[in-house]
């Protein structure tokens, strides 16, 4: 950060704007009434596997998922 002003609290906590806005969006979703609430929450499922590469070799992939296998 190049700014001299106080950074927002969420950035000080190590979040990016994306995480912050996602948290906010999730809060808004939780404020919906049923049945729309569960519908909206079910729609946004996260699942992917990501692996870092070092020296031309993939490391062990980590799976980012919010649904238990």
């Amino acid at each position: 950060m190049t700014s001299n002003a106080a950074v927002p609290f969420w950035r000080a906590a190590g979040m990016t704007y994306i995480t912050y806005s996602n948290l906010c969006a999730n809060l808004v979703r939780q404020c919906l009434k049923e049945p729309y609430r569960s519908e909206a929450l079910n729609r946004e499922k996260v699942h992917f596997s990501i692996s870092k590469w070092a020296e031309g070799k993939p490391e062990k992939p980590t799976i980012r998922s919010d649904t238990p296998e």
């Binding site: 950060m1 700014s3 002003a5 994306i18 992917f48 692996s51 590469w53």
Partner: protein, 324 residues
Amino acid sequence: MAMATLRREGKRIAAPLISHHPDNPLRSSVTSSEEHEVLGVRSISTQVVRNRMKSVRNIQKITKAMKMVAASKLRAIQTRAENSRGLWQPFIALLGDTPSVDVKKNVIITISSDKGLCGGINSTAVKISRGLHKLNSGPEKESKYVILGEKAKAQLVRDSKKEIELSITELQKNPLNYTQVAVLADDILKNVEFDALRIVYNKFHSVVSFMPTTSTVLSPEVVEREAEAGGKLGELDSYEIEGGETKSEVLQNLSEFQFSCVLFNAVLENACSEQGARMSAMDSSSRNAGDMLDRLTLTYNRTRQASITTELIEIISGASALEG
């Protein structure tokens, strides 16, 4: 291959007719056909063609089914992809698109599919990424790859595995949604250092046409530098910023959010192109299977008829020889 076997068999059937014994033609033809029965040449070679026809018919059924599946998936995803275009258009209006920007640290994000059988969309994406890599490499510059999907990974591992930074797969297990892509974008932002992110994907135009496209997302420092240099980005100063945030803060938030939005759109567009390409690939392959089936049926019937005719001739000529 089946044709060759058939032709060979045709010669064998014709052979006893040529080398017939003048004194007892009936017996000679009967014994030679018995020999064929023993060898099993005649029955097997038509069976080869029959089996081939069966397998071609099964493949045709499978490709037809895949085409149907791709068509229904395409319909679902097409509207979402078209709607998601509204997410990045404001960013283009505000920040402009600068594919030709010259920076030190380039990260090329290649988007491909996890599954194959979808024509050439993955190899076009890889080709464009390689071109971008070549364009942006040089002394004091570096380009890295971030790869989405199995197929581009398999192609890029071959020649540039040293430059791969991250690879992401299994993205399409659940239907694509913004939260997922945002978490992914967050992971990418945290794990790579960049001055410019270049996203390579296939933009969906229609079921049969996709444009390989790059979108560029600049880091906030580069945006500021470019804004001072003037041009489209120079107009940024004419916007009034509300609240106590400074310009660099706003720019950082903006570029992070721009990245997740552009990535979301790119992933959707690519998934849409994938289904479209799969649909047309499966359509042409079931058509080819149909053509092949027609040809095989024709040869099969012709050979069968030829052997029947030969047998009839043998019987009739034998009978007339006995009468005379």
